[in-house]
């Protein structure tokens, strides 16, 4: 007779291992965010955020295949929590295996596949060292709060604003999936 009990236990172990891996990844991002908040005196925060792939971002590839309906992607983004309606700057695309590792960072025409915590930490440090990423963070950190209307106008004019999913798409980032746009 097939040993279903053993298979069942194996599945539970695998689920626990996946849960541990995902928590470990969350922990790495929490450490990253905590350190960035500290060093920027609260003017920068980094998180992962889900966006809709928009028609315009797909057409930028000049292929003839439209994105699937409501197709989404994840990105590592930075925001300035001291700004009421902070822009979100995309630093890298983010892909995570359902069991945690490997996870993938995509930026500057590179795909970095990280198979464990050490690799992920090194990769995130490389991301922060990137001059273009550094420039984005610098600009974000030095944003001054504006009047509500003006701030909104400036934010929406930028190429990387998180836009609610039901508004017109944005060329680089698409609309944010979550409704908690700050």
């Amino acid at each position: 007779m097939t040993d279903f009990i053993d298979a069942f236990k194996g599945g539970l172990d695998a689920a626990k291992a996946a849960d541990r891996a995902r928590k470990e990844i969350d922990e790495v991002f929490s450490d990253l965010d905590r350190q960035i908040i500290e060093v920027s005196e609260g003017k920068l925060s980094i998180e992962r955020r889900e966006y809709y792939v928009t028609k315009s971002s797909w057409e930028a590839l000049r292929f003839s295949f439209p994105p699937k309906s409501k197709e989404t992607y994840w990105a590592i983004v930075a925001k300035n929590p001291t700004i009421k309606k902070t822009p979100y700057k995309e630093l890298a695309k983010w892909q995570e295996d359902p069991v945690g590792y490997p996870c993938k960072l995509i930026w500057a025409k590179q795909e970095q596949i990280c198979e464990d915590r050490a690799a992920l930490e090194i990769c995130l440090a490389d991301l922060l060292r990137d001059p273009i990423v550094g420039e984005r963070l610098y600009v974000l950190m030095n944003l001054e709060p504006l009047e509500d209307g003006a701030e909104r106008a400036e934010r929406d004019a930028g190429p990387e604003s998180p836009i609610p999913s039901d508004s017109n798409g944005d060329a680089d980032c698409g609309g944010s999936v979550s409704s908690d746009v700050e």
Partner: protein, 314 residues
Amino acid sequence: MLNEREYEMLTTYTDKVVLAWWNTSLSPCGLERASDTDMTIAINVILHLIRDFEVDCLALGEVRYDDLLAIVESIGNEHYSIYDGTLKEGRLQFDTGVIYNADRLRLVDSCSIVIKHGTSSLKLANRLDLLPLDTKEPLHVFVSHWPSRRSCPENAPDRHRLGMELRKAFEKVRELYCYPKVVFLGDFNDEPFAPALADHLLAIRDRKLVRKSGGEHLYNPFWRHLGERVPHVPGKPCQSYAGSCFYTKNQDTHWRTFDQIIFSSAFLGKGDWHLNEDSTQILQVSPYDASVLNGSTIFDHFPVISVIQKEGIT
């Protein structure tokens, strides 16, 4: 219903793309080592590929950006552009690049794929998304130069990892469409039968199975290039070749077929672009071949070439 012969007679090929890979040996791991004479030999081989074989997409291994610039300058054809894949990241050095005919192919996107495990990194491939002229069907080209057997032995876990991750990269493209046009080329430092390529990437020798499957199998025509090219004839000594690279110091065999071009099933009847297998070969370019076989120069690889052609029925 047309039979095979009638079909062949009515079929014309309206367009073609010639692809080639050559591990030049000029600058392994980005380290310059070629003399002026070596560079002249390399340029002559490349000119032969471009002028006589009309290669549209020439992927090169063991090159630096300066090598690519010197080569394109020597070609003297303004239509050829460079894709510089010679990424350096910490101790990791990609040493591949592509020279392509921009009059026939448009480079739409590209990226370098790296696998990180702890503090070590592996270079998996450079991916180029190309659009052949007048088509809206992208051609996805993965260019790989995997680690040597010295740094990563035959059955090392990293070899399996490379095969599995290249497979995942292919699956990502398959998410976009059922039968994507994907070509893998490079020096894998593995034979076609190695687990990384045959078992993990699923690059097999069985065309029928590739056609029958739902697009998951790949066809590796270089299974047909594993052995001696010319049959043994008693009493007649003949110069033959039994692979794409020649290592004089190897004890078990001097020949290896590490350089390969692998195709997705789209090129075996799942679309209007077809692999021309007659034109798929290891090129023994004379007099360059002598410098490979005598082992006294830096060169130890032959170029490999293949053709895909677009079908149109008259």
